[in-house]
Point group: C2
Chain length 526, copies 2
């Protein structure tokens, strides 16, 4: 076979994505016998038990291979806290050491640190298709790893195009493969309302079709599936704009502004209607029972003030209260903060209300899609950064490329600290955003990956990890590894990726479904 | 269900892609009963019989639906010539009429015209997911259709990344869905040599891996599969450059130029080595036995003259013959033309030799990837146009877009006549090119479609068919239809596409495999 590599500068040592914070390695190769590979973990955590089962498969993706005379190997997993509680900032720190031959050790503060370590172990185990043997090269290995930012996510928009719950779980697999820990589920928008509610079953009249709906069980399964891999699932119900889909069930909670119906996707609610707040209160209260995370995103973007001015009822209400549109928006945002506070949820909004001049509650977390957010962190708000991380965009940062996928390097270069000179401690991390106007679950893998791998490493690895060639050399194997697991992450340079026979079973599908018992256990144990 | 369309300007009448040349339609709706739908075709053509079987399934993709009281309907197919011979310029003209209720009539000069008509019929049959009934709206319908250009294709590069033969057949399904008729198979390049040869079995030592190889049977099956849908499969073996992969089997046929090995992908052959011509002769003679088409692409692009000057043997040979590099290239091209003439093949090359100043044989067909080709048609050469149709490019024509997929409109706007003021009759058509540096078969559907639909319509429909909004309204249903058939063509605007339960079986897979008997019949009957 001709040796035909992609022409990239080689990286020595284990090719891990994201690049670990600290790593030492040697030059020996450990032979592994899949039939004599044991995992020992005294933890009673049901989440960790599920993850160990999953990774036992991923370690040996090609079955037992050729008969091996290698001795037994053991992977010991030591976790300090056995709590399954998953929340922003839960420790993901871990160490991995393979110093004595055939004895691997993972240590971690939490089960979620152990899950991140298992992903790394899955990346250092190599399979040789010619000899059909598994090895760990570059031993002895010692890794100490931890994330740079606690919030590392992907936003998926299920409103412009519906994607099945199974696809969201598939995406959680992909997030975990890149040590990302947050799925921001932009569940509703002007175009459709796919979330089932027991309180308001008619809301899904605003779905694209009866088949384009998430049942309550779907939502619970996605949240539990996220937890099984240490991925927080944060819902977004975008209000007060982008709510036209709510009108199918509740026509009167929409503002009445015929001049603005051309932008129906963005049409806002009537904020002078009592029913508006009643629906929001009851819906968000119900949903906070399904979404475990303490953060709850309420959008808040792109309010067309002109619509409120045109609606006679809203205009009269603003006039009687002496509200400018900005003050009216502030009234609305304050109401939403209070509604969420009653169910112990912290509000997230896009940066629009801040830019509009709304004085937001100091507890508000602000997701930034505008380029400039120095004034937001200076005002004391914590932020998550999505500027430069829009996966739907043609050219993220105005750079020009010959080839489509070279935009990955723009994402990679976009550090959350770029342009921020003070209060960088307010930056909790970032999210790559997959707005779905031009993508559905058939095409989404390819649009998200491998480009979002660049975001994953940017948010996990050290700030100094900026060498594009080094990253490319590691992302090559990573995108192949993801493909081998059934995630259609395309290549960035010419190469060959050998796929297992069953990879097609996992295209657009989750790797491992949870049992009903696991779903209940995971949800009831946070 | 809320009515939430994509906000595009509506098009009245049947939504067919590519837009037919002539069509009249009415306002009635014909109910169809799949259990009482007969196709009557007196033709004995095995190709047409295969296509009728395929389209019988595609007409009724959702099974029998709800019980229907609609009377029996019949589709009569009348073909003037029953010849299965497939070649450039074979008539694809056809008419479709549904004037008397329940009686559809297709007339065509050839079986390939009938196949195009069957695709149109599959597009006018609608399935209602609520009533579970099939209908043909807009009757009576009368269509007279024919292509603007005889050469309408896609180029797929199987060298930068290997794609399985099954994926090429899947792509042929997609071509036929858009009435494209040519698969240009860029089979080898510097990075890999995946084509098996009986004469030179060692050539596949230059493949990425033993698994990344097309067997002779694979090649025959792809060619036969193409024929089953009226798609000519034209091979490209790119010489004299882009041939580094040949060196795994034949090191001495490569030029020896150490200063140029950095661009190994582009490294040229030694044109002063007798073995070079011997290998080309025997390989092309063998391959012309598998590829039925009379056109044979030999690349000819990007010859680095400096390499020939650096190679002592080539330099001496050029010197002794008084050859400049251009004259040496001309000598080589003349040899290749002669080699192909002996097996009745017409050579195609990229426009590079012409631009280099090589005097090409007048029979040569030139594929244009440079923007200016007025002088090429003025010199009397026939051309196929690929400028503006590069699917791997970020921004095809220097236009800027917010969203990735909006590049489709650049392809749509790029008429082959653009900038050409005389000898437009020399333009045979065009090809959208999927160079595969950053794409493999897991990600290729999404990269090619729906953008190449724009090219398909540009090359089939009337030159005056340029309304982007009109096209978008039709491409919406078309991209959904392709997805329903298992071709991952993403959406261009927010909408919902209901997928049949079995669509996943066809992801990256051909719709219908041919039997060995069919393959032999189709290949032996041209």
């Amino acid at each position: 076979m001709a040796v035909l590599v992609g022409g990239q500068s080689p990286v020595s040592g284990p090719l891990i994505v994201p690049q670990p914070q600290q790593m030492t390695f040697g030059t020996q190769t450990l032979q592994l016998n899949p039939l004599k590979f044991q995992i020992y973990c005294p933890s009673k955590s049901p989440v960790l038990a599920s993850a160990i089962k999953r990774y036992s498969d991923l370690f040996f993706l090609y079955g037992n291979g050729a008969p091996s005379t290698a001795p037994a190997a053991i992977l010991n997993i030591k976790v300090i806290s056995n709590s399954d509680s998953l929340y922003l900032g839960v420790s993901e720190n871990h160490t991995i050491s393979l110093v004595a031959a055939y004895s691997l050790l993972i240590t971690a503060d939490t089960v979620y640190g152990a899950i991140r370590a298992l992903e790394t172990v899955s990346q250092i185990i190599q399979y040789d298709f010619v000899t059909q043997r598994y090895t760990i090269p570059n031993t002895p290995i010692s890794i100490t790893d931890y994330p740079r930012f606690p919030w590392r996510g992907i936003m998926i928009d299920t409103a412009r195009h519906f994607v099945p719950a199974s696809y969201l779980m598939h995406t959680i697999d992909a997030l975990a493969a890149n040590k990302m820990n947050t799925l921001h589920w932009h569940i509703t928008d002007g175009q459709s309302f796919p979330a089932s509610s027991v309180t308001y079953p008619n809301l899904t009249m605003g779905a694209w079709a009866p088949e384009a709906v998430f049942s309550v069980d779907d939502i619970k399964e996605v949240v539990a599936y996220g937890k099984s891999l240490g991925v927080r699932v944060v819902p977004e119900f975008d209000i007060p704009s982008h709510t036209y889909s709510w009108a199918a069930a509740f026509p009167t909670i929409m503002a009445n502004c015929p001049d603005y119906t051309y932008s129906y996707g963005q049409l806002p609610m009537s904020i002078a209607n009592y029913l508006t707040y009643e629906v929001i209160t009851n819906l968000f209260t119900e949903m906070s029972g399904y979404f475990l995370d303490t953060y709850f995103h309420t959008g808040g973007d792109e309010v067309p003030y002109g619509c409120w001015k045109e609606d006679p009822q809203v205009a009269e209400w603003m006039n009687l209260n002496g509200y400018t549109p900005t003050l009216a928006e502030q009234f609305f945002e304050d109401q939403v903060t209070s509604i969420l506070a009653k169910v112990n949820r912290t509000k997230i909004v896009w940066n629009d209300p801040f830019v509009d001049g709304v004085k937001l509650d100091p507890s508000t977390l602000i997701q930034v899609w505008d380029s400039s957010f120095q004034d937001i962190v200076n005002a004391g708000f914590e932020v998550i950064v999505s500027f430069d991380y829009y996966l739907d965009e043609q050219v993220p940062t105005g750079n020009l490329h010959w080839m489509f996928e070279d935009t990955w390097s723009d994402f990679y270069a976009a550090d959350p600290y770029n342009g921020i000179t003070s209060n960088t401690n307010k930056i909790l991390g970032g999210e790559a955003c997959m707005w779905s106007e031009q993508v559905n679950h058939l095409s989404m893998d390819v649009r998200v990956w491998p480009r979002a791998i660049g975001v994953a490493e940017r948010l996990w690895s050290a700030q100094t990890q900026t060498d594009v060639n080094n990253a490319l050399t590691r992302i090559g194997p990573q995108t192949c590894r993801m493909s081998q697991r059934g995630i259609a992450s395309g290549p960035l340079f010419p190469d060959f990726c050998m796929l297992p026979d069953d990879f097609e079973s996992y295209l657009q599908q989750p790797r491992m479904r949870l049992s009903k018992e696991q779903i209940n256990t995971f949800l009831n144990n946070n």
